[in-house]
Point group: C2
Chain length 400, copies 2
């Protein structure tokens, strides 16, 4: 990262042997004096044990956490009652070991996260064996923060970090975020994990409001392959150590959370499996934001559209058909489609356009498609990507 992490947090990471590769797979964030916290979770009805336990702990602790423990390499999902026990067991282990650093913590003040293979028991002993070192080496340095960001990855090709500073009366507060992408590879599940840390002072309720607004404007507007993981988690923790109160910088902080979430969302899409093109879909003149989102998602999740993007093919007919499939009431004759500056569909019908130029434009790694519905005044930007043969290879070429 560039610049210091927010005050009031210590970070560390190690290789606990959960990943077969031997790469770092266990990450810890400590708030020795505690932190207010808010979280959002997957909307998939099948949820992993750490999501259930994390939600429970946050409620039990009334939004006051002492630690966050994340493992990669095992999702602890579809593991039944044993899985719940394992997640609780890890939290208890962290709480117990924290005494070595004179930190008093209850088991429910520890928030667990997991990502990786599904249906395999979490190797709790390996985690326990690694905890003592993990806790004693935790530090507030940039390097420790970077190692944390690195250890939560699975199939991501690089770590994802974003930071913002908020200045109030000459005092600087920091907001820093890390993410693990939604790229998927067998036998891992698609999981998006996002952790945001700030040294502002805030209540869990204030954090929850800011977080919900930011997620609505970022992670809810991206799609790689339309699948939602059983483990998706976004957590925001505030230590209060800067001395700046959130309510004194409410708008500034909200803008910073949105900015960081958007940055991390964009990094996640760009690092999706096999992705060659990131497409910024701009839906304009929808009747509502929700309708704009449903139309964007219908386009972004259509295999025919996504393969056209892979081929840099300005096949607007596929976009139109996907819009027609969205379930949102539309008036085809009012639809206009632009590829960058060039219009490729007018009033829902064909027009002459420079195909060669369109193809060149779609060969860029990042580009814009603007779809105007002529139905209302709601706009939305949605990030998506192409579906390449490499994605299929990554997710299919596996033999039990």
């Amino acid at each position: 990262m560039n610049g210091r992490p927010p005050q009031g947090f210590l970070f560390s990471a190690c290789a606990a042997g959960i990943k077969a590769s031997g790469k770092p797979d266990l990450a810890l964030a400590l708030a020795p004096e505690g932190a207010s916290a808010a979280a959002m979770f997957t909307r998939n009805q099948v949820v992993a044990a750490p999501v259930i336990v994390g939600r429970e702990n946050l409620r039990h602790a009334q939004g006051q956490l002492r630690a966050l423990i994340v493992n990669a390499g095992n999702a602890n999902c579809a593991t039944g009652k044993q899985g719940l026990k394992a997640a609780k067991n890890v939290c208890a282990g962290v709480a117990k070991q924290l005494l070595a650093r004179q930190i008093q913590a209850r088991e429910y003040q520890v928030f667990p996260s997991s990502t990786g293979i599904i249906g395999v028991p979490l190797p709790v002993e390996k985690i326990h064996a690694a905890l003592q070192d993990l806790i004693t080496t935790a530090a507030e340095s940039e390097q420790a923060f970077d190692e944390f960001a690195h250890a939560i990855l699975t199939t991501d090709t690089h770590k994802k970090i974003a930071t913002q500073s908020i200045v109030c009366g000459g005092v600087e507060a920091i907001l820093a975020g890390v993410a693990k992408g939604a790229g998927m590879i067998h036998p891992d599940m698609a999981t998006m994990l996002v952790y945001l840390f700030t040294d502002l002072a805030a209540t869990p309720r204030e954090l929850q409001q800011c977080l919900e607004e930011a997620v609505d404007q970022s992670f809810n507007n991206i799609s790689i392959d339309g699948d939602t993981s059983t483990n998706d988690t976004v957590l925001l923790m505030a230590s209060g150590k800067s001395g700046v109160e959130l309510k004194a910088v409410r708008n500034q902080f909200q803008a910073a959370v949105i900015k960081i979430c958007r940055s991390l969302a964009a990094q996640i899409v760009a690092d999706g499996e096999g992705v060659k093109h990131v497409v910024r879909l701009r839906i304009e003149q929808a009747r509502s934001r929700d309708e704009a989102r449903r139309i964007a998602a219908a386009i972004a999740n259509s295999p025919l559209v996504k393969t056209a993007w892979a081929g840099a093919d300005p096949n607007w007919g596929r976009f139109l058909a996907a819009i027609g499939n969205s379930g949102v009431q539309i008036n085809q004759e009012r639809i206009n489609i632009h590829l960058g500056e060039q219009q490729i569909c007018r009033h829902g019908a064909a027009i002459l356009f420079d195909q060669e130029r369109a193809h060149r434009y779609m060969s860029e790694p990042v580009y814009d498609i603007r779809i105007s519905l002529g139905a209302g005044s709601a706009d939305l930007e949605f990030l998506s990507c192409d579906l390449t043969a490499e994605y299929v290879h990554i997710n299919a070429d596996y033999s039990t």
Copy 2:
């Protein structure tokens, strides 16, 4: 086809030059003395001109048709008012040329269908130039029927035909169906066209009831890539020439229509682009048929599931996550999953199973996955297929 086509129909086909390849692309079915008809159309809100005109004509003609004209190579979709005019123009041309065979027909007694490239004006002149020959050569032979079935194809690798005979008081009536698959290739749209012909005597209303029931039990339970075309059409025509009344053989006929639609649906899935595995998804113990269908579709349209199928990977965690994404309320702990005879998930969690055997089983071209929800008593069989790198190549490797 095996056996004779139903009486009261004449068929023909030719290469009118609509397809750049020069392959047959224009097909005609005549009912010289008229036929009752019923139809179902795409639920996509963006619909092609022939769908609009076909629906209108059927209403105008009060379900009594004289002819069906189908072109492949051009979808006449997103072609605006010109497209509507073109579709009507073709119908008018057919009606006019029918006089050469002493058949009196009004323009609205001709039903038009199109499949192929989107957004390109229909070459009406080429069609007009071919009509005279098409009409004068129309015949009731098996060969003519086969040629009809062949000319409606686009990216299909072979023609799709199914027939059933219905015997009543020693008299045989025939039901014969042809289909064009939902496989897609640039620059074509995904289009499913299905035409059923029978020499039973029936009212349009009786036909409509039978057709809706059959479509609900067949074409509504298949998915190749989750995209719905702008041109999808299923048409059933009855000439009455056998002398057998539908109402005398109601149940037998309904069963025959279902059987033919299921056969054509299976042929369509098996011939999907790049398809290596056809998966028969059996959803059991759902609360309703509709919920079973939504769960089946969520599984069948998940790229992660479809790529696991491509890799013959018994990755039941992906199935479970897709079920959790279906929007249907589920109880994870009641879900059991079988791969053929072998159980691979019990009570929504991992169990030990023979991975090697499961992989071998999933390497077969057609196999069964049975998912029991433990929620109710509704069952459903749904046909789907894998998503292969070849699908991506077919749909992406195109340069304007």
